[in-house]
Amino acid sequence: MLAIALVASTATLAWTQSPPRRTAATAGAARIPRTSQGHPDFSGIWQALSGPEYDLEPHGPRKDAPPGEGIVDGGTIPYTPAGLARRQANFAARQASDPRLKCFTLGVLRGTYSGEPFQIFQRPRDLTVMYQFGHPVRTIHTNGTTHPGGHIDFWLGDSRARWEGDTLVVDVVDFNGETWLDRAGNHHSDALHVVERWRYVDANTLEYRATLDDPQVYTRPWSLSVLLHRRREPHAQLIENYCYTLDYDQYYPVPTPSAGGGSQ
C-alpha cells in the first residue's frame, strides 16, 4: 500500500515538475505495459477528464459549459480572420449546429478527449481505436505502410504511425471538413494535417499531444495536449452507443401481443 502511494505520488510530481515529459517518461518507463515486441501496449479503455470537449481554449463559466483552463499551447488557436469568423459563427449557433447533436462521428481529436470513453485494441500491425460515441473505428497502421494516394474524405482521417522510442507518432491526413474540435465551434477544413504523439506518463495515464496544421483555417501549426486516464473499474467496458439511431429508436421493435397486441 505504501509502495503504491509512493509510486503514485512520484508520477504526480513528475508530471507537474519541469521538464515534465522527460521526467515522467523516465519515472514510468519500467512499469508501463509492453507488447512482446517491446513497444508500449496502449490496450485498454481510456477517457479524458479535463473537459476540453466544452472548449479547447481558456474560458469562464457558461450556462452550457463549466469553466476550463484550456488545452491549447499558448492558450488560443491562431485562426486566420476567416477562420475566426467561422469559429464565432459556429459558437453562436452551437446549440443547433454542433455535429455532435446529429450524432456524427466526433473526429480524431474530439473523439479522443470528448469525455466519452474509447478502447484501444493493439497488435503489431495496427492499433484499433473504437469510440463509444457512435461506435466508429479508427485504425492506426504501424506496419510501415503509407497514406493512400490522392485526397479521400474520411471522418477519422487516414493514420500511419511509427514508434519513436516509447512514443507512438501518428501522421493523420485525409479528413473531411465536417467535424468540430469541441462544443464551442472550434474547427478545421479537409486540408487538416495532424501529427499525434501518444505516450505513457504512468501505467494508467497517457499523454496525448497533437499538432494541427491547416493553412485554410490557421495562420501557423498549433498544438494541444491532454491526459487520458485508464478506466479501471472491474465492470468497465465499452457500451455501443449508436447515437444516430436514437431519433428513430421509438419505431422499433415490433410490439408483441403482451405489450400491446400484434396490431398498431
Binding site: S36, H135, T145, P148, H151, N176, E240, Y244
Partner: protein, 355 residues
Amino acid sequence: MSPHVRSLPARLSGRRRGWLGLLGAACVVATGTPSISGQGSAAFRERRVVVTPPGPWTGPRLPDGQPDVAGFWSNTIGNHNNLTDPQGRNAADDGPPPAEGAPRRPRRADAGPVEKAPSRVSDPADGQVPYQPWARARAADFGAHLNDPVKPEYVEPFARCAPGGPTKSFMWHGYEIRQYPGYVVFLFDSGNRVIHLDGKPPLPETVKLWNGESRGHWEGNTLVVTVTNHNAKARFARTGEFVSAHATIQERFTFDPAGDRFTYRATYTDPTTLTRPFTITIPNKRVTADTPIDDWNNQTFLANFPAGERHAPLIEAYERICVEGNDGHGTPAEAPAPAPAAATPTPNVTRRNDP
C-alpha cells in the same frame, strides 16, 4: 455525399479495382468458377452452401492460443434481400448495379429455374421461420411495405444506418475479424461488434443494444457465442423477419483449419414469436489480395508502401461510417412505389441504387 466506402473518389476506387481486376480475372479462369454476369461478385458468390464441420483446430494460433482467423471475410450467397430464398427473389442482384439515378432493373420473373442457394433457415427442414401466426403476419406486413413505408416502423432500420444486429451483419458487405487477448472484434459495413472472451459478465438485461452483449469461448475450431441484451430492433432481411427482445441467441462460428472458409450458425429461441427454435446457417469465405474487387464482398484496398520498397500485396479496409440516417434502401428488384398521399406522415426516405 455519403462518407461510405462506396463514395470514394472514382479514380481511387477505379485505380485499385483495375489493378486487382487482373488478378480477379485470372482467378476465374484458373478455378473455372462459373461466371454469371462477369461481375466480381459472381466470381465470389456461390450457388451452394459449403458447411465446415466442427472439429479440432489444426491451423495457426495466436500467441494467446486462439485459432488465428483474423482477416477479411464475406458471406458467399448474397445479401439480405430475402432470408429464406437468398438468391431467388433478387436475380437482378447478380447483374451490374444500375447507374446513379437510373430506373431499377425489373425483377427477372421469367428467368427460369437455376441452381440457387437454399434457405438460410437450415432448421426446421422446410426452411421457414417457425412463426406464431401473429408474428408471421407482421413479418409479411413489413415485407409488403418495404417500398411503401407509409408508417415509420415500415422503414427497415438497416436502411437508416442502424447496425444489422447479430445475424444480418453476416448477410451484408464483407467484414473484418481482428483478434486480441480476450476479444474477437468484428468490423462490419454498418456497425462493429466486440465478442468478449474475457469472462466479464454481460451488462444487466435492462440495457438493450443493437448488437447485444456477446460472450464467447473457443471449442476446437468453433467460436461459441451467447448473445444477450439485444434490442430486437434489427430485422433479418428486407423480407421482414424479426424476433422479440426475449429471444436467446446462440452462435457458432466454425472455421476450416485451412483458413479459407467458415460457417456461421445462429440458433434463435423465442417463445414470444416462435413455435419452436430455428437455426440460420450462413457460409463465409476469406477475402484475400487475390479476391476480385467487387465493392460488395470485397471492399478492401491495396496498402501503399514507401516508394522503392518491395512487399507482398497487403489489403486493408478504409473507414466505413454510415451516419446520415436518411438513406433508404429498396430492393433493386422492384420499381419504386408511388409516393404516399401528402397528408400521410412519412419518414424522410430517399432511395439509392444499392446492390
